[in-house]
Symmetry: C2
Subunit: 350 residues, 2 copies
């Protein structure tokens, strides 16, 4: 399953109807961003995030850990949590296992994530080890917190590129028992080969009958490769982020719709695509909209790209069920030409 | 009838489905902007503007006159037309009565406008008189051009604030016989009182059984006042323009949704409103979206504002048919508090 990302309570440029029409089952909300703006009080008053953003369908919230370690200015880390300053206005804030779970209860997410410590990929071994120790400790504390009725809680495995650390962390997290397991500490600036290795060294220790979630990944080709490695659940900002730069995902890789070669192209972004954009508009028109800065242009690329990801997952599920995933994977990867620019765009911080 | 404005081939931030859902019958396209980007060739290849932008419903195109005189750098005006430089890239272009009608044939609009000369409201009398002379001459030439089957052509009356000039121009244009008549030279930076006077001094000379169109107007209150003065057709960028600044139109005037007083307001923009935004989202949520720069915020305000204008025209038509327009007008204007900021926003050039 792929989860479109609604960082600040909105999947960028899309409305809930469009999301449902393209087959979205579940979206992701970011605890850190929502905690800072608009704040939890108003979301609580509204009766939770589902009601606040008009999305009555499943929703996963992260714990805020990733953003604290990537966006915020950290003051102090203790067993109880992190003192940090907001990246928006510099105000002093605190988030620990207790707060992360409390906020996610207020948000009312269907799946909550434990708080983890997510160090940059180039951190020294002793910091990686310390992050794993803290991640296990905080997972334990998160597990002890009250949760909403029917709210699932997923554990997170850290450990960078160190096989022993990954194994130790995975076993410790799984031993504590969660509803699903995430592989964290990926999509943090590491090269693709290292990301794949981190997944490979973690997956064997995660129960096969429970959801496995690769956080913040990836390109369509990466998702297919990760499914082949046993991953079930994905979230990524790429479909909407590159849309705003005029880039569209297709089965053959990405294409810049702004490109001059689309000037007279009256065909859709992708032949045979059933998304609202491809059903209604030509490349030539979308190129014009993007070139003159009309919002409808980036809206329609966001529609197409998100639809492309969701359709890919439908194909993946169908082929897994039919036992033909291996052939599908081979064919998909043979056709899909990865773009270095897109791989880099994934690594911009959110 | 109110026409949402699709300056560059898109009603800003809205898609064709949203426009239809809110009751849009006809939209406006701008010849000058489309002539410059994407150019007429690609629109011709697409089979006309309706197909290019996926709007199979009625469409009016202006002649480009207003933009040439407000945006472009004019090189030379002759009986054949205007030599000017594009405001985008400075390229040398030419537009005359023949070209204006030819482009509008290529665009395939249901209603085409004649080319007029539209001087700024503070122009000296001799320039106003010269503009009227030219406007009549060009109307004559436009009338001689071929037109598409079923394509209507509207004449335009200029004359600024001079009653004799308005009368002379109106009579000369009407004598030549068009399918409808526009009052031009309004919404060109003049105060509201002068705008109303220009309408009042022109209207008596326009046939009552044909459409009368006040170009580029106005606020909801102005539209009601202009209907009372015999105007049938309106277009205005205000609903979508102020939406992008976070301002919403209501029956009581405009309201800044970004305002702190909306922080905890879980009600819709306007109670009782049936638009997609009011049916799905609260002021508190929309305020959040606008404050963090999420596109869905300005999208939803564009939906609400355009819906508000279209709904107002529905009310106007119903009350005109029922013979209760006088009472409706009194009540509407008593409730509607005009905003100086919005009046000024109307006068930004497009």
């Amino acid at each position: 399953m792929f989860m479109p990302v609604g960082t600040q309570g909105s999947v960028k440029a899309l409305d809930p109807r469009e999301l449902r029409e393209m087959g979205t089952q579940i979206i992701l909300g970011n605890t850190y961003h929502l905690y800072i703006r608009p704040g939890i009080d108003i979301i609580r008053q509204a009766g939770g995030l589902h009601k606040f953003i008009s999305w009555p369908h499943p929703m996963l919230t992260d714990s805020g850990g990733f953003q604290i370690f990537s966006l915020a200015k950290i003051r102090k880390i203790t067993a109880d949590g992190v003192e940090f300053r907001s990246h928006v206005d510099g105000s002093a804030l605190f988030l620990g296992p207790r707060e992360a779970m409390e906020i996610q209860r207020a948000l009312g997410s269907d799946i909550a994530m434990v708080l983890d410590e997510c160090p940059p990929h180039e951190s020294p071994p002793e910091e990686m080890e310390e992050a794993v120790r803290r991640t296990i400790e905080w997972a334990e504390r998160c597990r002890e917190q009250p949760r909403l009725e029917n709210q699932q809680v997923f554990g997170i495995v850290q450990g960078g590129s160190d096989p022993q650390l990954r194994e130790r962390c995975a076993k410790a997290i799984v031993r504590r028992g969660f509803d699903g397991y995430s592989i964290g500490g990926v999509s943090v600036g590491e090269p693709e080969s290292e990301m794949l290795k981190a997944i490979e060294m973690t997956e064997p220790f995660l129960p096969a009958h429970q959801p496995r979630y690769a956080m913040g990944l990836g390109t369509p080709a990466q998702i297919v490769e990760l499914v082949a490695r046993g991953v079930d659940l994905f979230d990524c900002v790429l479909p909407t982020r590159v849309a705003r730069n005029g880039t569209a995902f297709t089965a053959r890789g990405t294409v810049s719709i702004k490109g001059g070669f689309n000037k007279g192209d009256l065909g859709p972004i992708e032949a045979g695509c059933s998304c609202f954009a491809c059903q209604n508009f030509s490349r030539a028109y979308l190129r014009h909209l993007l070139n003159v800065g009309e919002i409808l242009g980036l809206r329609m690329l966001s529609v197409h790209n998100s639809h492309m990801y969701l359709k890919l997952m439908e194909d993946v599920r169908r082929h897994l069920a039919a036992g033909t995933f291996g052939a599908f994977r081979g064919e998909f990867l043979a056709n899909y030409i990865p773009s270095q620019k897109v791989l880099l765009a994934r690594q911009e911080l959110v």
